[in-house]
């Protein structure tokens, strides 16, 4: 029987973290912005059908960067968790906080116990009645969880994108303004000045979905035409 080489826990965790970070840094960025009208989720994503942004529940959305199969399985697990919880208790008992802590636990368990950590970074966003009551949680590959204010930027070159978004962020932005700001952020690390509409994925959590659309499901995915129309609006 061969003896295993000794690797210190510090070294092991550091290697795993470096591995996960590298995987995430290769991906394109996602921006989640809380604004007056709700929460805007914008991702650089040329595929019209493989989504990085998804609906979890009435007021809760999900955004991710990294490996598609890994965050897609986490998204589906989140939908199942939320639907079971809402069905067995009540719809209002499903919260972003509960969901985020479930994600934190599963990411943490995978990070320490599995062959390889998940190469993903997640955002869980819940829209409230006012901007002060919005919740934005950022979850990283090792299961650490951060409660963010105003906006979240994840993915490759997140620092540059984040700087650009921070410069332009105001509490009274409407959806058009927030999406414009996110797009400006996403090109911060590029040669080009604008991204074509077909290269981005945009969804929003509507603050007033009950009054404006008569549905408690706040999540709305915008197709290319919707995004073009939104951006054409006067700011």
């Amino acid at each position: 029987m061969t003896q295993q080489f000794y690797v210190s826990p510090e070294q092991l965790m550091k290697d795993r973290a470096d591995f996960a970070r590298k995987g995430i840094a290769r991906g394109r960025s996602v921006v989640v912005i809380s604004c007056r009208d709700g929460i805007a989720l914008v991702a650089e994503n040329p595929s019209p059908s493989l989504h990085k942004i998804g609906e979890i529940y009435d007021k809760i959305a999900f955004a991710a960067v990294g490996k598609y199969n890994e965050f897609e399985s986490l998204r589906q697990a989140g939908v199942r968790y939320a639907d079971v919880r809402g069905y067995s208790y009540d719809r209002e008992d499903v919260t972003a906080r509960g969901l985020a802590s479930v994600y934190a636990q599963s990411l943490g368990a995978v990070f320490t116990a599995e062959q390889k950590p998940f190469e993903v970074e997640l955002a869980v966003a819940e829209v409230g009645p006012g901007p002060k009551t919005d919740h934005l949680y950022r979850l990283t590959f090792d299961g650490s969880i951060a409660d963010e204010q105003e906006f979240i930027v994840m993915g490759g070159q997140a620092d540059k994108v984040s700087e650009a978004v921070a410069d332009g962020w105001r509490g009274d932005l409407d959806f058009a303004g927030a999406v414009r700001l996110a797009l400006a952020g996403l090109v911060a690390d590029k040669e080009t000045a604008t991204l074509p509409v077909s290269a981005v994925e945009v969804a929003v959590l509507d603050r007033g979905s009950e009054s404006s659309r008569g549905t408690r499901r706040a999540f709305r995915r915008l197709d290319d035409a919707d995004v073009a129309a939104l951006l054409a609006e006067e700011s």
Binding site: E55, I56, R80, V84, Y87, T215, R217
Partner: protein
């Protein structure tokens, strides 16, 4: 090895909320709460009689130009007692379909809730809506799942209506207690007052009704059912209670506002009072 684990992943992938519950939390399914034969055993036919439970009654549904409409009265009965005057028996199932329930109210409400989550769950997991036939089949499977409870006297009979976006028409489905699914043309009605409502619909319904005419026909059919069936409640001007009416068209499912129903019901009551007829 690769082959088997891939097969396993594929076999475990489900977009159905009911299947997920069946695997992970079977006790949450409405029809798993009571086991078949809890009293008499599955072979003995009827188990112990279930104590009286509220029953929901008449639902009518009819096609009109550009969509379908479903309406339900507001009464729940428990034997000869009126258990509720406010119960709602017609619900939006999702954006393009509605569901009406007759039978044991408690079980029916749970099945409705499960069906609503089932459709929404599929939509979120798959990123697209189920086809109308797919929705109708899922509902049939749920009613079949309830068969053991139906054998003990807790039957649920739904009526399902939706707008088929693929063909651009409104469609109507009825069910039997074994989950058998039957597509209906023109109109259909379920519940204890259904034979009276059906008679009314036969005389009042005609092709290409406008939406407003369809609302009037549905309310009048329910009025006729309430006239002759003690378990069906008529419009109640004292408490300002009107039937629950949903329309489903290309624009989606929408509840007809109370104010409009008050006008329609008021006009029918007035017309009947003026006619001074006995039956």
């Amino acid at each position: 090895m690769q082959e088997t684990s891939a097969n396993q992943v594929a076999a475990n992938a489900t977009s159905s909320f009911t299947e997920h519950l069946q695997r992970s939390r079977p006790e949450l399914l409405p029809y798993n709460a009571l086991q078949p034969g809890a009293g008499g055993g599955p072979g003995t036919g009827a188990g112990t009689p279930v104590p009286p439970t509220p029953h929901a009654t008449t639902i009518v549904a009819l096609a009109y130009a550009g969509g379908v409409l479903m309406a339900g009265d507001r009464r729940a009965t428990m034997g000869n007692i009126i258990a509720s005057r406010h119960i709602e028996k017609v619900f939006p199932a999702d954006q393009y379909s509605v569901l009406g329930i007759a039978g044991t109210a408690g079980v029916a409400l749970d099945i409705t809730r499960l069906f609503q989550v089932e459709l929404e769950h599929y939509e979120k997991i798959e990123g697209t809506q189920l086809s109308l036939d797919g929705k109708a089949n899922r509902l049939g499977a749920m009613i079949r799942g309830n068969l053991p409870m139906a054998m003990q006297g807790l039957a649920v009979i739904p009526l399902f209506a939706g707008f088929d976006r693929a063909t651009g028409t409104g469609r109507l489905f009825s069910y039997d207690v074994t989950g058998g699914r039957y597509e209906e043309q023109e109109h259909h009605t379920v519940g204890s007052g259904s034979m009276f409502a059906r008679g009314a619909l036969k005389k009042l319904w005609r092709p290409n009704l406008s939406e407003a005419e369809a609302v009037r026909v549905a309310v009048e059919a329910l009025y006729d059912a309430a006239d002759d069936d003690s378990a069906t409640g008529g419009p109640d001007p004292v408490r300002q209670l009107w039937p629950v009416v949903y329309t489903v068209s290309r624009a989606g499912a929408a509840r007809v506002p109370e104010l409009e129903l008050a006008g329609v019901a008021g006009a029918i009551i007035e017309a009947r009072a003026a006619a001074q007829r006995e039956a």
